[in-house]
């Protein structure tokens, strides 16, 4: 018999401090979290040698096509446009792909969480961790592109873990939110893809911020993704540290998103077993 579990008693009537206890449960199930992350990475990278290449192919091709289109056809004067594009695309892909994967993860786990108790946020967190690993690996090809285009490597690059961590928290909040919706409604996966596409074009990723007329700038600033992309891209492209105001605003947005997502998820998590 398991000794550690001997004195554990589950009491359905005890009131819960959701956020804190969920975090504790994640820690308790850290081996499962690790197994899930390992599983997704193994499935992606082990079975095909090209696994990593496939992951990078999408942003690289998009970057290539857009660079050619913008510089050749629109006579668009923009120094090192490839670096600018790839930096934005990588962070965007992290956000879009891992939140989408979170939905699929929980739907996969549906038959499981119906049979056995598991801390359900674990499936969202694991999707995001996998995304974070992919993003970190993708920094290699990014460095390669910077070398080729003779872009300057600034010490500000050392700041990158901060925007990555903040984006992670923001994406976690969004992931928890959309995943909860997706459990209840089958069309959420499709609607979410549509929304993602709209936000993608509304965010200055494939075009410079300077392209936006002054009087519409407030519209862009309503978009939370704008801050994360800016914060991530600035050390890479401009070689400077993002301003404290920008970082603080991003941190605040991440925190609010996380709290709302977590609250919504926990509030509805008890109903999952009735639905999936």
């Amino acid at each position: 018999m398991i000794h550690a579990s001997r004195e554990l008693v589950y009491d359905s009537a005890r009131p819960r401090l959701a956020l804190w206890e969920d975090a504790l449960e994640l820690w308790r199930y850290r081996d499962l979290l690790w197994s899930l992350v390992q599983r997704d990475l193994t499935v992606r990278y082990k079975r095909s040698v090209l696994g990593f290449l496939w992951t990078m192919l999408n942003p690289l091709l998009t970057m290539l096509v857009l660079s050619v289109v913008f510089s050749l056809f629109f006579r668009f004067e923009f120094e090192h446009f490839a670096v600018y594009l790839l930096a934005g695309l990588l962070l965007w892909n992290f956000f879009a792909q891992s939140t989408t994967q979170a939905i699929h993860n929980l739907l996969w786990a549906g038959s499981l969480v119906n049979k056995i108790y598991l801390p359900k946020p674990i499936f969202v967190v694991s999707a995001l961790l996998v995304g974070l690993v992919n993003l970190t690996l993708a920094l290699g090809p990014l460095a390669l592109i910077m070398l080729i285009s003779q872009h300057r490597f600034s010490p500000a690059l050392l700041f990158l873990p901060i925007p990555m961590a903040l984006t992670f928290l923001f994406a976690l909040g969004v992931g928890l939110f959309v995943t909860t919706l997706a459990i209840f409604f089958v069309d959420v996966v499709d609607i979410y893809q549509l929304v993602l596409m709209l936000i993608f074009y509304a965010t200055p990723i494939i075009y410079p911020v300077t392209l936006i007329p002054e009087r519409y700038l407030w519209l862009v600033q309503l978009n939370p993704l704008y801050y994360f992309i800016q914060m991530f891209r600035q050390p890479i492209y401009d070689g400077t540290l993002p301003g404290a105001g920008l970082v603080l605003r991003a941190a605040l947005i991440a925190l609010v998103a996380l709290l709302i997502g977590w609250w919504f998820f926990t509030k509805k998590a008890d109903e999952f077993a009735y639905r999936v």
């Binding site: 398991i2 589950y10 599983r39 499981l112 069309d187």
Partner: protein, 426 residues
Amino acid sequence: MFERTARAMDDAIAIQLENITVRYRVPHERYATLKEHTIRWLQRRVQYDDFLALHDVSLTVRRGEVVGIIGRNGAGKSTLLKVIGRVLRPTRGRVLVRGRVAPLLEFGAGFHPELTGRENVFLNGAIMGLSRAEMQAKFERIVDFAELREFIDAPLRTYSSGMIARLGFAVATDVEPDVLIVDEVLSVGDAAFQQKSAERMQSFRANGATILLVSHNLALVEAMCDRAIWLDQGRIVAEGSASSVVRRYRGDDERAEAKRLAESAGPSLTQRWGTGRIEIVAVRLKNGNGEATTIFETGDTLVLEMDYIAHEPIPAPIFGMAIHRHDGVHITGPNTAFAGLTLPTLEGRGTVTYTVPYLPLLEGLYHISVAATNSNDTEMFDYHDRCYPFRVVRNSRVLERYGMITLRGEWEFTHRSGDLNNGESS
């Protein structure tokens, strides 16, 4: 949700349910999409039906007990397991469970086809709440038990379904939960593996694990469980020793079926033909005590009575019957002529009786046909094809359970040479 100190519970108690009610809220119509739901919600037309899956259920299971849960489909058995397994939070009431609860998952749940058997074992263990180190210690034993040593590093998609089921069972039963939940999955693998599975369940019991077993296999519940509860429409209707609860449930089941069989008895147009010069107007099945019934035990007396009307004088008619098993196998077809009985010329009303002093049929559902023909079997007066169902149930007198009938044969044993080892000498 977890407390390090178990003040709330007596140490010897594994599971305690206090007035558990589970209410499902089912949307009146199913709005599966967000779009539809939003429209309905804006129109304020989302309506729900309440469905009580469990109603005020209280139950205490002591540590080391094996408890069977029986009942018809939809009685709330699975919901009860979910409440205990922490999957479903009850609408009202309180659940206390001590220790780790692990279900025997159905085939392949929690497995990933692209991962190897080895990786899946660790993933499955983690799902059951075990650490990597704990799984490492169990790994060799699991692989041996599942008999999959040479395939363990191949991806799971190359496994047969039987291999996956074996691996799943091996992992689930090796994680040694404090409470094991078994929901109708014991029939995994070949006979040898089933034997091993049964042994492992026994050793579970011996180690003091608490087991909850949901099954429609009443014989299994009787054999495995100390105690049983019978759920019906979300309530506990009976609780007690496994054999007494199973007996009550079986009795109720038989009464319900007897009612159903009686309602379905009687000829319909497609199942009846003949010239009608003699009509069979009523058919009754009785037991040895002369009581009308449609449920028999192997070895019972079965009496078949046919009331007839001969509309004109019919010389030496033949009355007969037949028994078919529910799948159409023709078992027997006796009649008055085979028995050497020549009836006189009949006119008007009467009754023909056929008595089986010892019913040799084993457990199953059977149908009786009745017929009346002329003396040389060239004219069918009346024929009711498989119109009268009856069921044979197991009993304690006849233990045979393979095939259709018992021949009531006798076994003998003669020893010719060599030492007999009765287990006493060694």
